[in-house]
């Protein structure tokens, strides 16, 4: 008998070990997979001697035909405009038959200037956006490849490969070639080019990791793009041929974090207040009924919350912003005041028990508070804001209220994260040893004092964990952001503007991205960046928890 129990014990322990190790392995594997997909993005290109034959057989031959035939439709392939100007991109045949509209290169002896047309008050005017310096002078130069690269051979025989918009050469072939006679450089395919001269065979060079690579600066710092008035942080991947891809992750990370922040600003006070009340004050009879009811909210899928918010809340929020603000400000005050009043009232009538009538009383107070909050907001709006807060803000402060905005996202996302935070925080408060509160009550402390000094220090690590889980949910939530944020990659700290989150971007764009393209890798990298960000936040929270645990002498 004892023997069998021992065997069960050993088997169970082994099974648990295997399970936990495999879970760890799966997580590590996923992480490694994402990293392996994303990290080739940062390889630096290098030039080597290529051969003509390998690049011209098989699919590539077909490919060149297709490029030419398609290019005629798109009209985005560059061509020389005159002796020293090379048309580059944003050329639209229907609108701009002259290839200089958009962007072009002005090629001089030792300097190449990339110009673009910038919209001003009196029409489009050219302005320089990038300068490429070739101190030794230009011997020959290629056209622009589909991946927006061009090759320059200087008089010293050094080959430079540039990408449009970046003044540093991406790759340089240091081994000088004999320049005499070489008068033309041409692309054979995306990664291969040839130097032509009259006397000898063309010299073929191929560039490794030229396309589908980037630098970290492309993802995180300001860049001057064609057609943009100023250097910007912009997310706008290429969908139209010849267009410039803009892969700044900053607006996306900003969007994710601001959405999470707005949702926590709304969900935290409510969730923690509810958790304290249910876990500490509420009689267990009610707790058993109310806790599962609140946790039911967690069963709502994000898409349901988002759908309701999109169809019902969004149009109303436009007209009822003042009412909403009124409710947010008034409800806590009225609830606190009525709590005070009711407490006094029931204390004068010892026979009546306060807590038995609680649900009814609370509902009544809430209804009154919400109604008066809305009315107050409406009244204030009529008196001081000329009838519409939205128009008033717009008119006097230039603040505009987007249809899809941070408040909307905050409410919907707040509803989604609320049950997570509530449930865990309540559990942490309820699970504190009863002695912590009763002991201090017995010494004459009030209920609130015993909570703050007795219960809270013990429950704090659990509450922090609850908030962290809520934050993770808010960061990872996709559907709510996809439907409600407007997916506008703007960086604004205003809750009245929209945003675009990393998760929503992944949902929108990953299906369209060609496997192993730059876009695809950047998307995976954004997932990785998001992971690093949450990892950082969680680590900070863990450190905080550990410190508190040590301070209050609670066993971890």
């Amino acid at each position: 008998m004892a023997n069998r129990r021992l065997i069960v014990d050993v088997v169970a322990a082994a099974a648990i070990k295997v399970a936990s190790v495999s879970v760890l392995l799966v997580i590590l594997g996923m992480f490694a997979q994402i990293a392996i997909t994303a990290l080739p993005l940062f390889e630096s290109p290098s030039i080597s001697i290529g051969t003509l034959s390998t690049t011209r057989t098989g699919p590539a031959a077909d490919l060149r035909v297709s490029q030419d035939s398609v290019a005629n439709d798109v009209g985005s392939l560059p061509g020389f405009v005159d002796d020293h100007r090379l048309g580059v991109s944003n050329i639209h045949p229907a609108v701009a038959p002259e290839p200089t509209k958009g962007s072009w290169l002005d090629v001089r002896d030792t300097i190449i200037e990339q110009l673009h047309l910038k919209a001003g008050s009196d029409g489009l005017a050219p302005s320089v956006i990038t300068r490429y310096f070739i101190p030794a002078g230009i011997q020959a130069m290629s056209s622009i490849s589909l991946s927006r690269h061009f090759v320059v051979l200087d008089r010293a025989g050094v080959i430079h490969v540039y990408r449009l918009g970046r003044s540093q050469a991406r790759a340089t072939f240091k081994e000088p070639v004999e320049v005499s006679g070489i008068n033309r450089v041409g692309w054979l395919d995306e990664n291969t080019f040839a130097l032509y001269s009259h006397e000898q065979q063309p010299l073929v060079r191929s560039v490794k990791a030229l396309t589908n690579t980037l630098s970290l600066a492309d993802l995180f710092s300001f860049r001057q793009y064609e057609g943009y008035p100023l250097p910007t942080l912009t997310w706008q991947p290429r969908v139209v041929d010849g267009a410039e891809s803009k892969y700044s992750l900053v607006p996306l990370l900003w969007g994710t974090m601001s959405a999470a922040l707005f949702s926590l600003m709304l969900a935290l006070p409510v969730a923690l207040g509810a958790a304290i009340y249910v876990g500490y004050y509420m009689p267990p009879v009610f707790r058993e009924a109310i806790k599962p009811m609140i946790e039911m909210i967690a069963a709502f899928p994000g898409v349901v919350i988002a759908g309701i918010a999109m169809l019902w809340l969004a149009p109303r929020l436009q007209y009822a912003l003042a009412e909403f603000i009124g409710i947010v400000l008034t409800v806590p005050i009225i609830v606190a005041l009525s709590g005070l009043f009711l407490n006094r009232y029931f204390q004068t009538k010892p026979g009546r028990h306060f807590s038995k009538r609680l649900p009814m009383v609370v509902l009544l107070v809430l209804a009154i508070a919400i109604y008066s909050g809305a009315k107050l907001g409406e009244g204030v709006e009529g008196l001081f804001f000329e009838g519409s807060v939205v128009l008033w803000l717009e008119h006097y402060y230039g603040l505009s209220v987007s249809y899809f905005n941070g408040v909307l996202v905050g409410i919907a996302l707040g509803i989604a994260v609320f049950p997570t935070i509530f449930s865990l925080a309540e559990e942490a408060i309820f699970a504190t040893p009863k002695g912590a509160a009763t002991g201090s009550l017995a010494l004459g402390a009030s209920q609130w004092q015993s909570f703050i000094d007795g219960v809270l220090p013990i429950a704090a690590p659990g509450i922090v964990a609850a908030i962290m889980l809520g934050l993770s949910r808010a960061i990872g939530e996709t559907m709510i952001l996809l439907l409600l944020s407007g997916n506008t990659p703007i960086q604004s700290s205003s809750p009245l503007e929209g945003m675009r989150s990393v998760a929503a971007t992944l949902a929108i764009e990953l299906p369209e991205a060609a496997v192993d393209s730059t876009h695809y890798r950047v998307l995976f990298f954004s997932a990785l960046a998001l992971f690093v960000l949450t990892f950082f936040i969680n680590t900070c929270a863990q450190l905080l928890r550990r410190r508190w645990r040590r301070r209050y002498g609670v066993a971890a």
């Binding site: 077909d62 639209h92 509209k101 919209a119 029409g123 290429r238 803009k246 060609a514 393209s517």
Partner: protein, 314 residues
């Protein structure tokens, strides 16, 4: 109406569920691609299913850009797209498969620019669209427009309705959509969308938002237009008369935003389409298929499909 969209939802869900198993069996056809063409493809699919119950047909309509990867990875028989393959997609395809896909113009439609009924504007010029939607404004070269007041002041409002004063809320599709690229090339002259342009996943979402927001302006496929929104007539820069895009006229070739809709097929050189693929193509080219096309609010394509049918299916 409701029934159809519900059915479409079911089809999409079913496709997702069975996507992993699809394209294997000989009698299963899978179609992936444009949301613009979803009504058309679903209607074709329904009628074809009724005519040929022995052939299972699976439809997945998320956006044009979903088609090239699906065709490249050989998980779909047909790709439907509201734009042709881009150079990059052609390169990816030919690199993997060694040949080029074959596209037919099976239908045409136009983009309609829509606004809320409270909006006093009845028409808008392509130049003003550029000023609203673009960051670089390569078409117009003029200053950006952010409020309706600026447009209204310039004489857009003629109907005498009270002007709306709010900031323009421009709505567009997500970058997966062919309409996004089409609008970008033809209205923005290849320039970028302003970062304030809201990206919504589907035309229905654009219509719902325009319905509710008086400041909104958006573009939708003309077959999606509902009476709950107002179609703005488009003024071309060089013409005085604006093109009427509302109602049936939108189906004529008049609109400057008319585009070709493609059906792509991937056949290696010398390979002929399978019997079930031929059956579907023949159905599309048939009178019934073309009637469905008109009923769904599209315009006829060109003769390339019947030509291709004659060559490859006999």
């Amino acid at each position: 109406m409701k029934n159809r969209s519900a059915r479409r939802l079911v089809v999409v869900l079913a496709t997702c569920l069975f996507a992993s198993m699809s394209a294997q069996g000989a009698a299963t056809l899978s179609i992936v691609g444009s949301d613009t063409m979803s009504r058309l493809v679903t209607a074709w699919g329904d009628a074809f299913r009724a005519a040929r119950p022995d052939i299972t047909i699976e439809i997945q309509v998320s956006g044009s850009a979903a088609a090239p990867p699906a065709l490249t990875q050989q998980v779909a028989n047909f790709g439907v797209m509201s734009r042709p393959f881009s150079n990059n997609e052609l390169m990816d395809f030919s690199r993997t498969r060694g040949f080029l896909p074959q596209g037919f113009i099976v239908a045409r439609d136009s983009l309609a620019v829509i606004a809320n009924h409270q909006n006093p504007a009845d028409s808008i010029s392509l130049e003003d669209l550029d000023r609203i939607f673009s960051i670089g404004r390569l078409c117009s070269g003029r200053s950006a427009v952010t409020t309706w007041r600026e447009l209204v002041d310039q004489g857009i409002a003629e109907s005498g309705a009270p002007p709306i004063t709010g900031r323009i809320n421009p709505l567009g599709r997500t970058a997966v959509s062919g309409s996004y690229g089409f609008f970008k090339s033809n209205v923005l002259c290849g320039g970028d969308f302003h970062s304030r342009v809201v990206e919504l996943p589907g035309f229905a979402a654009i219509i719902r938002t325009v319905e509710a927001d008086p400041n909104a302006i958006g573009y939708v496929g003309s077959s999606f237009v509902e009476s709950s929104v107002k179609v703005l007539a488009l003024q071309e820069p060089n013409k005085d008369a604006s093109t009427d895009m509302s109602g049936k006229a939108a189906r004529r070739d008049l609109s400057p935003l008319t585009r070709d809709l493609y059906l792509y097929l991937t056949l290696a050189p010398g390979e002929l389409p399978s019997a079930s693929e031929c059956a579907f193509l023949r159905f599309v080219a048939s009178k019934q298929g073309q009637d469905i096309l008109i009923e769904s609010g599209f315009m006829h394509g060109d003769d390339s499909l019947s030509e291709g049918l004659r060559v490859s299916c006999g």
